[in-house]
């Protein structure tokens, strides 16, 4: 078991009214498993991913990550997990546009304090796997959407995390590029990574091991 989410709740106060975004949600994910989550905008998908990474704190409930309870009170501990154990892919890529592709990919390793030649060689290897090795010295801002997402995927796995969270990685991509991105995620699955992907694309939902629809803060298995 990579992650076990138990009875978490999250409410936001908007204009004095409490709105429940996550309602008593539980979920478990095994090693090498892909879970796809779909749902309408604002149903709580991104909040769920943010709770897993420690960016958002749940109101109650607990998350066991690799047999250890997440300590939301410790920024240092949560930052460490985010850096070493979780790779994140976003729909807006969140790349440092002025930096080169290689610099972007190496950033999590630099934060970790391990950016030696071994890691650099691994970065070149994964850039090769994602098909953008030739752009390693190109500024990220000059790449296309599909290429940027490949850089984001390479960056997400450079620290060899056990869990990858992909928040609508195909949102800004055409169908062909989306399929390529999903192929990359399948490749990561074969390498033993567990993946939670939030998507609206039918083709991606079909390829996941389990598919859930999120509605009013609850997960319904499809």
């Amino acid at each position: 078991m990579i992650i076990s989410i138990k009875n978490i709740n999250k409410t936001y106060k908007i204009a004095g009214t409490k709105i429940s975004v996550i309602d008593n949600l539980s979920l478990e994910l095994d090693k090498g498993e892909i879970i796809a989550i779909t749902g309408r905008s604002g149903c709580g998908k991104t909040t769920l991913l943010n709770i897993i990474t420690g960016i958002t704190k749940p109101d109650n409930g607990e998350i066991i990550f690799r047999e250890k309870k997440l300590k939301y009170y410790s920024d240092f501990s949560m930052s460490r997990i985010r850096n070493r154990e979780i790779g994140q892919i976003f729909q807006t890529f969140r790349l440092l546009e002025d930096e080169t592709v290689m610099s972007n990919v190496m950033m999590p390793a630099r934060i970790r304090g391990r950016a030696g030649s071994n890691v650099r060689n691994y970065a070149i290897e994964i850039l090769g796997k994602t098909g953008i090795a030739e752009y390693q010295n190109t500024r990220a801002g000059l790449l296309s959407g599909g290429q940027k997402q490949r850089v984001a995927i390479a960056r997400a796995i450079v620290n060899r995390p056990s869990l990858i969270l992909a928040d609508e990685p195909d949102a800004n991509l055409d169908m062909e590029t989306s399929i390529e991105v999903f192929s990359l995620l399948e490749m990561l699955k074969r390498e033993g990574k567990s993946i939670i992907i939030v998507t609206h694309k039918e083709c991606m939902l079909k390829k996941a091991d389990r598919t859930y629809k999120m509605d009013k803060g609850r997960l319904i298995q499809l």
Partner: protein, 421 residues
């Protein structure tokens, strides 16, 4: 570690324009503060060199009235400074404190033994209060002895009288007697603890009934009482005079007045009593006031410049941090802790402050010759030298101030939400 240093280097290189502004602000502030400090030092030195004298401000030295006899010798017709006169002066409006120096009016001599060498001399003894000589007494043991009036020698039952040696006497010995007679010079700081014999009631010219010897010990030296003799506790001087049925006669008294307004009044009143008043060319209260005002103005200017530098740096740092908020957000998402990001910002501002301060000091040093040539202030010899201690203070403050000024930006950064896509 090297990887983390890379991130610090990246932070230093980020937001170049704002960093340049912060650098310029600190550079100008440091240059202004250093200039004000130099101006203050030069002004204070000018006051010290041109107006200071041995008599501190607001102090009047009162001496007995001078004899008006037509002959070489007289029995003393001048106005005598006695207990009644001291009491009257003490009661004048505006008088803060009166410290009389009592003369021992019996023949006195001292015998100093130094190995096989024995030196005997007649001398004058003066009694001074503890308050007046407190600062000159070498240590606590000597202070206690002065208060008590006797000093107990270690490892014996002997007691002695503590004495202070006037600096004038030491100088006279070193520059006259010692060199003339091939004797070693005396180091004033090393005199404390020296033991010798005092004889009361006998000198080379006279001896009276009841004369006796008493041990004595040097308790330090003083430059406040310029007599060619020794200073003993006031209590002892009174007792010795009493033993030989002599009335108290004061050599002089130091009168402290409350402020300059009373200074002139007290001085004229004492003069009217027939005493000799000595104020010398002392640092008058008006000049002290001017010095205080100028220094307060300079301190105010330094504070204002520092405050402006802090505010400008704080605003610049907030703008700089805000301009890079997306970068910090990405770093946080990728696992950088808030502490690490804060540390990189603090290091950036500390380094920038240090470099700007160093450049400020360098700038003043570099333009020293030009400034000295172009600025001439009548009566004041300008010196633009920056001492090592001042430079260290400026470098430290120059590094700390930007760090402190960047704290609001860091606090603001801490509150940024990371869940923005």
């Amino acid at each position: 570690m090297l990887s983390k240093l890379y991130l610090i280097k990246k932070e230093l290189a980020g937001g170049k324009f704002i960093s340049f502004i912060v650098f310029c602000v600190i550079l100008l502030s440091v240059s202004a503060i250093v200039s004000f400090n130099i101006l203050s030092d030069n002004f204070n030195n000018y006051i010290k060199n041109n107006f200071a004298s041995a008599i501190p401000p607001d102090e009047i030295k009162v001496k007995p009235g001078e004899s008006k006899s037509l002959f070489l010798f007289s029995t003393g017709t001048g106005r005598e400074l006695n207990a009644a006169a001291i009491s009257k002066i003490t009661n004048f409006d505006g008088v803060k404190q009166v410290d009389p120096i009592l003369a021992v009016t019996v023949p006195t001599s001292a015998t100093i033994y130094f190995f096989t060498f024995q030196y005997k001399t007649d001398l004058v003894l003066a009694g001074a209060s503890y308050k007046f000589v407190e600062k000159d007494l070498k240590n606590t043991e000597m202070k206690k002895a002065w208060l008590k009036g006797t000093y107990g020698f270690k490892n014996s039952n002997d007691t002695g009288v503590p004495v202070l040696v006037p600096k004038t006497l030491i100088d006279s010995y070193n520059n006259g007697l010692a060199s003339a007679n091939g004797l070693p010079e005396i180091v004033p700081q090393k005199m404390s603890g020296l033991r010798f014999k005092l004889s009361f009631g006998k000198s080379s010219v006279n001896a009276v009934d009841g004369a006796y010897d008493w041990s004595s010990v040097v308790s330090g030296y003083t430059d406040r009482i310029n007599v060619m003799g020794l200073v003993i506790p006031l209590k002892c001087a009174e007792e010795i005079n009493k033993k030989f049925n002599k009335t108290g006669r004061y050599m002089f008294a130091m009168v402290k007045v409350k402020d300059h307004k009373n200074f002139e009044y007290v001085r004229s009143q004492i003069k009217k009593m027939g005493f000799v008043v000595e104020t010398g060319d002392n640092l008058s209260s008006e000049i002290v006031k001017l010095k205080k005002t100028v220094n307060a103005f300079i301190t105010l200017m330094i504070s204002l410049v520092s405050l402006l530098a802090v505010i400008t740096t704080a605003l610049c740092s907030i703008t700089a941090v805000w301009g890079r908020i997306d970068y910090y957000r990405i770093l946080r998402t990728l696992g950088a802790s808030k502490f690490f990001i804060a540390l990189t910002i603090l290091i950036k501002f500390a380094l920038m402050g240090f470099l700007a301060s160093w450049c400020g000091i360098f700038l003043i040093g570099f333009s020293k010759a030009y400034i000295l040539q172009s600025i001439t202030i009548p009566g004041i010899k300008l010196s633009l030298d920056i001492s090592a201690a001042t430079a260290a203070t400026i470098l430290t403050a120059g590094s700390i101030i930007p760090v402190a000024a960047s704290l609001p930006a860091i606090i603001r950064m801490f509150s940024v939400k990371l869940d923005k896509n």
